[in-house]
Symmetry: C2
Subunit: 342 residues, 2 copies
């Protein structure tokens, strides 16, 4: 089969290390399902691996955590959707029995386990779910890792309800666009910020109630605090000064969920935390239960009735994998960057 | 009646501003119970008020949040323990219906509402609870504000169970000694730290399993991390560098509860928070439910069977109020500083 592989990794060349090659087809082991991939999607994780910025890298590897395709075969004893079913793959392997935290041995698909940037992939049958009927292959492929991360952050950890005012700083990344979609599906009010008016406009078209440009609006946190007394729930992946300001504007009894820290260390003022009795909640990836609950949100008949469609930035051919990875590295995209595998 | 009053406040003189005077007896209003105070206890809040380091100070005032005594009379329609019953007073007024957060209008007894440093006090009947039969007046008077703060931090917010390993940095303050007592009552394993070997010895005599001197043991966080893989629950009131190190040693899926920040702003590393999926939970004071559940822990028949006795540092006569306040200001005490009112 054709697959994207990394043989070398380094900070300098990064995305240019990806190459398309011919490799042996995987065989489904007992309990596994073989999926023929139609579309795969990029996550920053794939780019970090190409740059050597990820722990425990094993080479060569086939990256990719997100994929949609059809069931091609089942290994011995594997129970899952019938051959030919259109499916999405849960990218978390071996989460374990505790909803609160994964086992230390848990993995994300795509290094060391073979990833989705390949024509075929064999995964545990339990990781294979029928794709939401309301979505195209492109839309469904955009879901897995970003979707489950967003769902766990917003709902399982953040406890979002229709009564919340949700602040999403830095809308535009794959995860943050899913946070926006899910919050609107649940019926919450949503405030987004970005440095790009174009991204703010797209966020508004996806349902954002208030959109603030933090570059041109110097005191963005004052504008945020003025919306219904400020957010009751923040979902942040920036850290740094953004986190500090977000904590300041969060309402009494509010929650601040953190799944990343691109701006690095943050200052935390204990008084803001204890006086307002805030919850600051860390999260990463999601459990099998999170994944199943998240997929259910794409059923048009649930929640607020909003029909939600994942944001797709662009679909690249498999041979354009370097260009696709470079666009993710630049971070200028809105929504997910896809790879057309077959 | 005789009462301690503040007419002036300033950073310099602080505790020396307290004086004992003759004032009119309070009269119980409809719904209120009049309590004849036997013992009152100091909190840092009382000293902060004398130093002008508290928001919204109204003068003159009678400070004091903690008191034990006997029911002297009931106002019209007040339902509470019968006249003559030995009672402790819940110091939180007007918490409101939400367990998660108090109403913005909630107050703590002792400025602006008359406090417990007086022979009589009238409070809402619902704030008056029978004193635990297993405790002396001195022990019971030590409970209210520190006890409810500790209970909410450890149990209502921290969710402490017998399976937890609890880290209590800086044991010695009123609240931290209650956290220690309650954690042992629940059956958890407890690690305490202090800069004083004397305080560590007292903590061990109260049940602490591991005691570490953070002054003489340079890498105290390494010693903490070595205990059963590190704490699953931290209750911190320091902030600053202590908070940062405590977050570093907390186990995957653990909780860090914060009710103070004497060392000021802390650094928070987003990666530690999201990768370990920590909960960082702010808390202050406690709800009426917290107070009632906390008192029940003093029933010797509950929990691990540990008989718990609040730590009393010293009992001062009412006329020695300045010396008592100065000792709280120095922070050298272990457990509560009391005032013998009648």
């Amino acid at each position: 089969m054709r697959a994207v592989r990394l043989h070398e990794i380094d900070r300098e060349r990064g995305p240019q290390n990806f190459r398309v090659e011919q490799v042996d087809d995987p065989q489904p082991q007992p309990g596994e399902t073989l999926v023929k991939i139609a579309r795969a999607a990029f996550n920053r994780r794939d780019v970090f691996i190409s740059q050597g910025l990820y722990p425990g890298i094993q080479l060569p590897c086939i990256p990719g955590s997100d994929g949609v395709g059809t069931v091609a075969a089942h290994g011995e004893g594997a129970r899952g959707p019938a051959v030919g079913t259109r499916v999405v793959i849960d990218p978390t392997l071996g989460w374990g029995p505790d909803q609160r935290i994964w086992l230390r041995s848990a993995q994300v698909l795509g290094m060391p386990h073979q990833g989705t940037f390949a024509e075929y992939i064999a995964v545990p049958a339990g990781n294979v779910h029928p794709a939401p009927a309301s979505l195209t292959d492109d839309e469904a492929a955009a879901i897995p890792l970003a979707g489950v991360t967003a769902y766990r952050a917003l709902v399982s950890r953040g406890g979002c309800t229709k009564d919340d005012v949700v602040l999403i700083p830095g809308v535009g990344s794959g995860v943050q666009t899913f946070v926006l979609l899910f919050a609107k599906k649940i019926g919450a009010k949503v405030i987004v910020t970005s440095s790009s008016d174009e991204k703010l406009e797209r966020a508004k078209s996806m349902g954002a109630d208030v959109a603030i440009n933090y570059k041109t609006s110097e005191k963005w946190e004052k504008e945020v605090a003025a919306v219904d007394g400020g957010p009751s729930l923040v979902v942040d992946s920036a850290g740094g000064d953004t986190f500090f300001k977000a904590v300041n504007v969060t309402r009494y009894g509010g929650r601040v969920v953190v799944y990343g820290g691109t701006l690095g260390d943050a200052k935390l003022r204990p008084f803001s935390l204890f006086w307002k009795q805030l919850d600051i909640l860390g999260t990463s990836m999601g459990s099998p239960r999170d994944f199943a609950e998240m997929l259910a949100l794409f059923d048009p008949s649930t929640g607020s009735g909003h029909v939600i469609k994942p944001a797709v930035d662009k679909v690249y051919a498999m041979d354009e994998v370097v260009a696709a990875a470079e666009s993710v590295d630049k971070g200028a995209q809105f929504g997910k960057v896809l790879l057309a595998v077959t």
